[in-house]
Amino acid sequence: MNNNKRSLTAHQDDFFSVVKALLVIVLLLSIAPQALAAGDAEPAAKVVNPGAELWREVRQREAPVAGTTQVAGMDSGVLINIRGEQWRTFRMQQLIPAAGALLGGVLGIIVLFHLIKRGLRLELGRSGNYLLRFKEIDRVLHWFVATIFIFLALTGLILLTGRVVLIPMVGHDVFSVIASASKEGHNLFGPLFLLGVIGLFIRFVSKNFPGKGDIGWLLKAGGMFGGKHPSAGFFNAGEKIWFWLVIFIGLTLSATGLILEFPFFGQDRLIIELSLVLHGVGAVLLVAGLFGHIYMGTAGMEASLESMTSGYVDANWARQHHDQWAEACEAEGAVIAGEELAKKQRLRGTKNRVPDRPAAEEGQ
């Protein structure tokens, strides 16, 4: 197989994971209201009495007759909460199986894809010259969000699927300890995630507006059909879509998460149930996207992880994947020779513990 084809298929995967995610959003959004409506058919009263009208109204949440009670508490005046039944049906019978299928499926596709196609290699090998792609502050931010996101995803998925997956393996007592730890950890790190997403937005939004070549990139599906590698700027359209997914789903997760975590601003059960639905659906989608993102950043594309570790990428990598950006850098004379970089950073296996001067790296 020639190198060019490999590159096309790797982009194809990036694209596919995005399309798949979008499809599932549409699917789940169309299922959710249906699930919420499923329980509306109330078992009819067996015998009708004069008060029956009243009781029928009581069962409707929007009943004109709001009950009163001496007991304080969320919705304590409500006699029957119908949405609860709908939420539990959605969560237990739709969300959990769908989460398993989607996450397992995406993982399976990635593994299969990798086994068949291998990762995407550098077409021209390494040039030995480098371009600065991400400043230190951007890398710190990226890994800050990544760490927290993975922790939240892990703890959240334990809460969501642990009953089905972990209880049969470890038993109720042990799982309860794991679940309690997950819940406390999840609640603690959740708000930090919001700060991280805001940070990502501030640092990266300017590079993620639709730009020259994006339509072409998408039309060629990242180079899936066209023979030539589609042209891209600093971020290609696939990466831009991932960015906006992170921002929008991330903010949705944060908003719904905060509603769940601070249940004392008068939110009633309906709002909480809707938040749980959105939170669960959003989390599963974003984790599925994360699988694709991690693959493209590591095994799926040679030499791309470096951009987030050292911050520098090989000039050939840049030309192959982000030609517009590479050209702009070359025009500016921003290409750094390998020896120069090594001297600056002493990264290449030096055991010298005394750097002669602090590397004049990017200001941060």
């Binding site: 067996k46 015998v47 007991v71 508490g73 006699l79 029957i80 109720h172 601070f262």
Partner: protein
């Protein structure tokens, strides 16, 4: 085996809250928790009705189905109980319950709920019957002593009935006949129309084997 049920007769309930107080006292429930509450509709207008609400011990209990740590179980009497050693205080059972039965000690702000507490049909919890552990965590276990829930025992107008479902509905049917109007077994459609959890879909709590 008996199938325990609650029935509240809205034509009789006078909103005296004796059941609420009796329950609190008998079970020494955690501070800030009411396992039972009385809800009044059309308060102060013609057609005012009151109902005493607590856990109805549903056949296919939503709380048990949704609990992430699967800590509920149904006793052979059809009473839905839970294991506080396992509960993580997530609140999901409260969101799922049709009757708003599960309650949480508000031991602090910031979504920290503490372990769930709810009506046990005066049947304690998974610990040995009437052990001090059981009493401390779940209150009294009157069922094990051959008694029925105190809330119903205390009801001056006999609006609140508790006991075997057949007996309870027979009493109610007699009343309805005698009153000459048709009655409504309030909440029964929601709570008992579905097949029993314990014989059902293999969803069983840790202590499912307990008698």
């Amino acid at each position: 085996m008996a199938r325990m049920k609650f029935l509240c007769d809205a034509e009789r309930c006078i909103e005296c809250n004796a059941c609420v107080t009796a329950c609190k006292n008998e079970n020494e429930v955690p501070w800030g928790i009411n396992r039972r509450r009385v809800v009044t509709i059309n308060d102060g207008s013609p057609g005012e009705r009151s109902l005493s609400v607590a856990c109805m011990h549903c056949s296919d209990a939503p709380c048990a189905a949704v609990c992430p740590v699967d800590c509920f179980y149904t006793t052979d009497d059809g009473v839905v109980l839970h294991d506080k050693d396992i509960c993580i205080g997530c609140g999901y059972c409260f969101y799922a319950c049709p009757f708003g039965a599960p309650q949480f000690p508000t031991t602090g702000a910031f979504g920290s709920r503490g372990k769930m507490d709810k009506c046990t049909f005066c049947a304690g919890g998974p610990e040995a019957d009437n052990s001090s552990e059981e009493r401390r965590k779940y209150g009294s276990n009157r069922l094990a002593e051959g008694k029925l829930p105190l809330c119903a025992e205390m009801c001056a107008t006999r609006a609140l009935l508790a006991g075997d479902g057949d007996t309870v509905s027979n009493i109610f049917r007699e009343r309805v006949t005698w009153r000459g109007s048709s009655g409504l077994t309030w909440g029964w459609g929601v709570a008992y129309s579905k097949p029993g959890l314990r014989r059902g879909r293999g969803v069983e709590g840790k202590a499912a084997g307990k008698d």
